[in-house]
Subunit: 415 residues, 4 copies
């Protein structure tokens, strides 16, 4: 038995790689294709159109192939509405639910295509119909993570009525933000890259966009704290995401002049080691939290201080290796994830600085259209983060302790 | 002004490095020492005794030096009782609280030395007095992490009345468990090391001890799952600590024959990607948890299955990058840490397998006397874990997907 | 001024990525394209044909674009003969010489296309005409590295008359040898991958092909020496490439039972350290080389021993960090490179085992059509080697000390 | 049978770790010790003296133990002259030759102790007697690597008459150059460390010492070339050691504004790739070498240019992965090693910048007393280099492309 379905692709599908991935997927998965129509884009700005029949041995094989094609931008021809099925229970999805990519996605309901809110990968799509009728305005489709699914939610299943728009290669070059390359720019001069990142930050700021910075403790150890604090003060950072550890190291530096017990000025090791770390948490706890400690004058400098003073919101997520934690730290993983999700959805540019855990958590929630800069001294970390799928990303393997001062110099001192 | 205090060291203090570290600390911290008495151990089994006066410019300097000496095994001569101070509030420690090492530690209360329960680093020591009087039996000293401190707890402050016993170099060689070397045995033949680890596991089992295994998802991806499951089944594992991700991958393999969507037998990628992962969580949630899913026959193989079938307790700790999570996963970081702490305190041998986050969380709670094996393909991970201070540790940079089958072969097939 | 040239592509150019790379290159380099004809391959086995006009502002820009298109498989339409220019001096190339890729390449001379011998990247193409006339048989085109260029050599310049055939996506799947993916299979179960590699080796052997193994010293330290020796003995290895260090460690193990002074059986360190290493070189030198030492009975086991006994040729290349070196080691870098080049050109399958330097040296000389397996515990090494451009490559991040025994078991014990 | 020998240690042997290592070695190697006399240094500046009898089962065991003690600073009591034996052949050492450490070493000949010239590890010691008699001035002892040994050379065998002086812990603190710690200062702020390194360079310059810089190609890729060139121009670098690749990248940047084909200013990739690299070698070859190319005005900037202009000598060592190489490159490994050896012996401070191969080659020739700074973005490289045994070393994991500009700023701009 052979089964078949017809799919269509449209756009800059050759140079963006969609066509290649679709042909490849059919062959890799044991199917066949028959191109029925192919209209190549003859110029840079002309789009290409392809309609092809996809054949497979079994319906199951065909569905698997069509799922893959769908995720790479193909839509089933002769569109029908998406299939909706009620979730059988809280946190339980129907069999064969549609699992999202992080690309812009459209779902067909009552004959109309609706863009989904907050594209995010590995979610279900839940459709809500308003009370007043079947007009587009009354239908809302959005991503929901598994633990947000409630009994009765109308969840999209199968591939019918779904359209995904993978990122297309920009027509005007992409500047330093490479197109889906996932590679690490280790062969590019560090200072030039930093100045491009600065340019991007300036641009986002001018357009009143949101720069989200994701921070690891190495920022403090390596000597990048003052530079980051000045970037917050000068308005280049609009939102901060970190773990308990980053905040404690930053605050310890203010209270004791040390970071994990090392005097960051004299480089001398007062040999009180971890004690300052615990003390810091204890003192902030006594004050009632970071904001209270700033108000009481206990804390007078640093990244967290500037966040409080300049009204920059932050999320501190807890982890099982934390000391304390601080009263500000969200210890429940789901609650923390939800707070991070909100930050991610609002960001126009994300700087991931020397933290794998928090960068992955943020990256999981990002649509593929958000510009991302990932800086780490470990190339494996940079590669892993870029592979998660931003269409426009810069990866930079460098020392955060020299990166941040040079970035701040570029943005602030050179004005 | 010069201030001075007299300290004593006793034991195999030369070859264990304590004497060198104490002399070094005094010099590094700007102090002077005068050795008043020195009786060298003339043979391997004879102990060395040293009494020295330590001098510093200021009382603060002297205290810092004495703190450091104390942590390296020196005790203040002419011992007095430890100073106890009530915690001013919940989760707040008194100024100058004593921050613990992970070595066996004794505290002097009412003229008697009491060993502290559950040595663990970066904790406070809390002393509890029984109702009946001042006999040793009525006094209990134990470590408490900051968030467990309650208002009124009697917390040890300063260094007086504290004795630390850093590990001594074993007199009879240490086998493959090196003495405090913190190095990684990358130059040692892998098969020989595996057989030594097997020997150690056999020994712990014969003595009815507890082997705790800390598991990362790479175990499933790299093909070590069946071997680990058989070790659980055969009784070589007594306790398991992991994250939500490890359990889901293990269960997905049973439900769908895939791990993150890759068919682990045929190596083919069914291209359903992350969908199986989410499904698995959804299905286990529907069943009501892992145990219920095993009982219902939904799950019939794997590491988690064998844990349920063989009554091996496990802790699954949540993190902000989790999908789901499973109903079994503890999402609150503090609650999860407390569960891990209990596992760590009971363990006689800990195998840390391909996970940095969970290994650090377990390692934070371990006394320096617990034997530890750390296996990871990333040498940086192994080094970081060994540096946290087990006195007897094996670090092995290898592929978990070949390590576990060879270990299982050694323990099970070769009987 | 606008200049233009017409180029053609033919083959499986969509799914192999050539079309996407060509469109991308034109846009990235500031040019325009006009597709004049496009005949899509409608089925898996049908080829696609594209003819397009490429436009640029200046002749220099156009040449740069056409160079790039050429390297990705496009040929200038209306073909003319390649331009040949005599090398002005030994080791000096004419201005604008054609620098090769490692793909199969054809050059047009006297109206005929000639495949070049030994495709290798970053070389010049030198054309030799025989005495007898202009028939194809009398023309020979081959790659020459810079230092082999002799005054008067006819070197190809420009892009005219050059055709490159980048690898096409295999129509029948590629098994575990991925198509140009350059990725590392760290998420695939190790044992399954090993058995696929064994299958490939068996196949090459049955077809009387040549397996070249490139060896690093870690093979001996990590315990893979006996397994590799048995593979040589059983005829699975046809050629060996290594450094002086690998050979010395292998021989030291035979002479002293140690590797860099560590007893590889008992794991005890006889504490003679590097002395055995120097002794070994001294003893082989006294005997007059490895073959002489085997004949004299001084050496009786190991990888080098089996090479001698089984007539497996080897190249030992010297480096500036060597001790000694052995009399067999080629200390001149150019001479060593030439010997390695010969090995690489003859190989049908290359196993690169735990050495970056020697693997890069071999990889530099390989055509893109040679199957390659790269095994290292360091993912960065594996990635770097795969990026150099084999079309069919397996990268495996694992421990060579467990990999080789499992491979030998698969090939030898399981017969 | 029990055999015994008496050894002595003297100096700051407790805090420098020598005493601990000697006791440890005796126990690890199955021996026993009896301390016969022990006079502890009571103050920081007082030395400790120890005389102990070492016992073992067999003469062979005893010799192995005494060898180990000797390498850690113990000398056999009741000293006799060193045993000298003639080398049986060129490049062949007598059985039981003494293999050197990299510490200052003394050998007893004709009743007098003679310091050996050029301490270097893994060498033989050759003693030369002058014509005029047995006075100290007429005896010369020096290290010789295996390939420099000539038939008849008087080579020291056994341990008798040898005294090694392992580095002692400095009495006045060591500044940022840690004492034998072999660790990497990842927890120290990058900018502070850079300023300490600058201070050290300034000091060496004031004392007319020699700063040797060892350079990898990443310096050019990452954007550190101009800064390094300015350091050469300003007289902070006295000697340079690198491979062919570094020099070609530096020269290509001058000739074409690219580094491996990437335009380092505009960040655009002219897509000529490796062609510029080969061209550069060809052009320098045509000119007759780097100096000739500078004189002819072909080369007008960069690190190599400044070396020529400022008379800074350089060694370019070849390797099997080189293109070309340049006429200046020494292609024979032994010849290159000898040139590197001379550089190493003359250096007072060595900066190892982003190259493992060349840093190891230099490090192999350094005495343990030479100050060393090792900078690399890969922590494994830094660790490996520090482990080779400089007593005073700084390891810094950072980006060479930001490190060099900050270092140059510190040294040049801030004057």
């Amino acid at each position: 038995m052979t089964v078949a379905r017809t799919v269509e692709l449209e756009g800059h599908i050759i140079d963006s790689g969609m066509m290649a991935r679709c042909f490849g997927a059919v062959m890799d998965m044991g199917g066949e294709f028959e191109v029925e129509e192919f209209e190549v884009g003859r110029h840079k700005h002309e789009e290409t159109y392809c309609r092809m029949r996809v054949l497979a041995e079994t319906e199951a094989d065909l569905r698997a192939i069509v799922h893959e094609l769908n995720q790479n931008g193909a839509t089933v021809a002769d569109p029908r509405d998406a299939t909706l099925e009620a979730a059988p229970d809280d946190q339980v999805v129907p069999i064969d639910f549609y699992s999202t990519t992080n690309h812009p996605t459209y779902v067909r309901v009552d004959g109309e295509w609706h863009g989904i809110d907050d594209p995010e990968m590995d979610c279900a799509i839940v459709v809500e119909r308003g009370g007043g009728g079947s007009t587009e305005g009354d239908v809302r489709a959005r991503t929901k993570v598994l633990n947000a699914i409630e009994e009765g939610d109308l969840v999209v299943t199968g591939e019918t009525g779904i359209r995904v728009e993978p990122p297309e290669r920009p027509r005007n070059g992409g500047g330093s933000f490479g197109f889906m390359q996932g590679g690490v720019s280790s062969e590019r001069p560090s200072e030039s890259l930093i100045s491009e990142i600065a340019g991007e930050m300036r641009e986002v700021r001018e357009e009143d966009g949101t720069v989200l910075v994701v921070c690891g403790p190495a920022i403090v150890h390596a000597g990048g704290r003052d530079a980051l604090a000045s970037l917050v003060r000068e308005g280049y950072i609009d939102s901060l995401s970190a773990g308990n550890g980053f905040a404690v190291h930053d605050l310890e530096r203010d209270l004791y002049g040390t970071s994990l017990g090392v005097d960051t000025e004299s480089l001398e090791h007062p040999r009180e080691g971890h004690k300052h770390h615990i003390y810091t948490i204890s003192e902030i706890g006594r004050a009632g939290g970071i904001e209270a400690a700033v108000e009481a004058g206990t804390i007078g400098s640093g990244v967290m201080y500037e966040c409080i003073e300049n009204g920059v919101p932050y999320v501190l997520a807890g982890s099982i290796r934390d000391d304390g934690p601080l009263p500000d730290t969200i210890t429940d993983a789901i609650e923390a994830q939800n707070a991070i999700r909100e930050q991610a959805h609002e960001a126009d540019l994300v700087l991931m600085l020397s933290t794998l855990l928090h960068s992955v958590a943020v990256g999981n929630c990002l649509p593929s259209t958000t510009k991302t800069v990932c800086v780490d001294i470990n190339p494996a970390t940079v590669t892993q983060l870029l592979d998660r799928g931003s269409a426009q990303a810069i990866g930079m393997v460098t020392d955060i302790g020299t990166f941040l001062p040079l970035l701040a110099e570029e943005l602030i001192d050179d004005r």
